[in-house]
Symmetry: C2
């Protein structure tokens, strides 16, 4: 099968807007200008282009026509100016860890790699803020904060860049207590589609000064501009941290415990569900010996007293739901190993079935509907016969199935897509969302319409065409083109 | 002086876009249609129009040409449809408590009063959410929640409507712990300028599904559409609540205590600064006998143990800064009296100088700059000779001077405006914002440009004209018109 005509990419586009699967060549003049101005930081080598033409999704599309590695906002600005001049798409690229096809060059164009923009521009512990360039990763940021007594909590599975995490409104395991990128980005520097450099906010903790441009760009998936700098909230490292594992006979018991923990308002820092499949995969991958049952992986932050209080309250709840005794990860090393294992669930799953790719789901529902939504979806997954894993930021009502498929096997792919469709429909019927944290990308454009309706999506289109009239910023993502 | 040609209103408009101070009459056909369809809920009576032609700002402008009292989203939709048909401005109106001239009909048009839309549509305590109509006030909401064990924390001074609070991105005394409307609005129902009814989100706690339309409308001051329903987060009523007053010899000591409390990450629920002027005014207004010194009014929420822990930590800090012993408001009645007094500071000030209006400032700075910003501004206010009061949500770095002026005295007005200008410039130079919670309205359009630059304001204009091409939604607010 020609990897450039994978039907899934076509399928996920609206019928009225088939993508160009063979991007036309870039104008020679543009190539020459980029080569002259960027030298070795510009490349049309196939290997480099292919590396920038995929993400962690299972989609396959033509690679971008060129790659530029920017090292400054000015360079980003220059690339965008040239792209506008030649009406060429620009796709901002961090580490390539997005999951819904955000980075695929479905209309060709330039991949603008910002991963060399790694500067920590300011650490203002006295104000609990930090300002960084877009290419710094979350782990690099926490490394830079290590000796300050503060940390940055948002932790999607991958070691994503702060720019990419902002662009997809990422979250992760700490969101239940610390919020997502939506709550933790204070301000952005953005290069607009017109090549202007703007700053969307200040370092003040709150503001009512005009439209919330910060939150408009957070989650805009590169379709409105290129994020170059980010001012973030940071948080004091808790005086005491305790991590515990609680195993259950059934997933229902684990989920119902979580629902009660949240409804009681216990300020738990992390509460992650791992199903028995994932426990097995993680045990094998990370050489752990977790009890092979559904489990909750929890973490408690606060003063020693407050942590003890939280633990007692949670223990009472899990005991009510026939949870086992807590097992403790006491030292920072033990904790890191445990959370590392959780973050590696995705790779553990892939390794457990060599040659497969995972189709990841990402629904999020109001917490009271979590058990209903999950249990019906587990039954469907079991009946499908596909291998799968299930992990979830269940404190937020957000969970991920990963259906493991052979990407070349169309039947497996459609089976997985069918499961995802049913799951999303179920979540929407429960007033949930089709994406808790991964974004829409290429994959969920139809679901977005089901979720908020054509009129609201049209409103997004109007914003897009007002801010990017040439449609050069990561075109073909979030929604299909349409005459308005 | 003709109240319709108050120079302040003109002054606050850009030079290139003078406002029409004598609005032309509404088309007769439109008046007839509104009268037929809305009957007694439609009015052109001068008294009703004048009541809808002002807010708590000190500006004076012509009243709207008509008022419609809507009782449903469908009725809001119908008014917007007619307004679009006749190219007539629509200004959504709640209780008229905004402070920056948001509600003034500077281009004429229809005041669309939603205060009769008061239904509590759903209380989902199991999900910690509630859905209400836009005209419900915050106190009415908390009354509806009283016996559920949950509450809604956002409390601007006035008993504003939830719709109005959403439109201005309001906050208040609890924001330091619970966030502002930005963090507490989950989803909105909005009637767009095209008369479409859209829903901007779901009841899921987090989402990465497309552009953040919810946060675009939160803080848009009625310029992009009319908010008709709001889904909010609610919070468990704390097991224990303790409120304390701590007096200081100097404001600097109070402010520096606050800075340390925040930098330590103590999860204090409220920490309000009241200067000695306000203490005097409040004592008189609310028949209290607070010690007439600068003071911090604090509240601690949590389990009894955690509250005790917070109090001990805060006491250690205030003692370091020569704070007095805490005085306690122990019973709910005592607490309500105290917070009522805080919320009445504004009216207490006006009453202390009959016939005056307050020019309120609203800057917010990174917490480490709070003392510098405040102390310089106090010196300037003292030197001006104007009576003033000073209150502040200092835990957020946000504070308000209220300069008391005779609204007919141009010299006093310009003196107050000069103080405000200096204050805003100071806050901006410290990477703060010109508005922490009141919004831009008519009053701060120039400051907004100083804060984020003409290019970012142009971006807002592009969004506005994309979503409201006829410029009928509360025109002339946030930014001046300009050909883009």
């Amino acid at each position: 099968m020609n990897s450039y005509t994978n039907p899934q990419v076509l399928v996920s586009q609206a019928k009225d807007q088939p993508i160009s699967v063979t991007p036309k060549d870039l104008p020679l003049e543009l190539i020459e200008t980029l080569r002259q101005e960027f030298g070795e930081a510009f490349s049309v080598a196939l290997a480099i282009r292919e590396q920038h033409g995929q993400d962690e999704s299972s989609f396959i599309a033509p690679p971008p026509q060129a790659v530029v590695f920017a090292t400054s906002t000015k360079e980003v600005q220059r690339v965008v100016e040239l792209a506008a001049q030649y009406c060429t798409p620009v796709i901002a690229f961090g580490v390539g860890s997005s999951l819904e096809g955000h980075l695929l060059a479905v209309r060709g164009g330039i991949s603008l790699d910002v991963s060399r923009m790694k500067e920590v521009l300011a650490i203002n512990t006295e104000d609990l803020t930090v300002t960084v360039q877009a290419g710094l990763t979350r782990k690099e940021l926490n490394e830079a904060l290590k000796h300050t007594g503060f940390f940055f909590p948002i932790d999607p599975g991958a070691d994503a860049t702060i720019g990419g995490m902002s662009a997809t409104r990422a979250s992760g395991t700490n969101a239940v207590r610390y919020g997502t990128m939506r709550e933790n980005v204070l301000a952005l520097e953005v290069v607009t589609a017109q090549g202007k450099i703007i700053r969307t906010g200040t370092r003040a903790k709150k503001s009512s000064a005009g439209y919330d441009l910060t939150r408009l760009f957070v989650g805009s998936e590169g379709t409105l501009g290129v994020i170059t700098e980010i001012t973030l909230k940071i948080h004091p490292q808790p005086e005491s941290i305790m991590a515990a594992i609680c195993s259950f006979d059934t997933i229902a018991q684990a989920v119902n415990s979580t629902i009660e923990i949240i409804q009681m308002g216990i300020p738990i820092a992390r509460v992650e569900l791992i199903d028995v499949n994932s426990v097995r995969m993680v045990n094998q991958y990370a050489k752990l010996s977790l009890k092979e049952d559904p489990l909750l992986l929890m973490e408690f932050h606060g003063s020693p007293l407050s942590v003890q209080e939280q633990i007692s309250a949670v223990q009472a709840i899990t005991q009510d739901h026939q949870g086992c005794e807590f097992e403790w990860a006491k030292t920072p090393e033990e904790r890191n190993k445990l959370w590392g294992a959780r973050h590696h669930a995705y790779f553990a799953a892939l390794q457990s079935h060599p040659g497969t790719r995972a189709i990841s789901t990402d629904t999020c529902v109001p917490i009271s509907r979590l058990a209903d939504c999950l249990l019906d979806s587990i039954q469907e997954a079991d009946e499908s016969g596909l291998p799968y894993f299930l992990v979830g930021h269940v404190g937020d009502g957000n969970f991920h199935f990963g259906y493991l498929i052979d990407p070349k096997n169309d039947m497996e792919r459609s089976k997985a897509e069918m499961l995802n469709t049913k799951l999303v429909q179920r979540a929407l019927s429960m007033n949930g969302t089709c994406s808790g944290e991964h974004g829409i990308g290429l994959h969920k454009m139809d679901f977005l319409v089901s979720e908020i309706g054509e009129d609201a999506v049209d409103l997004m289109r109007h914003i897009k065409s007002a801010l990017d009239p040439l449609n050069i910023m990561n075109p073909g993502k979030i929604f299909t083109d349409k005459d308005l």
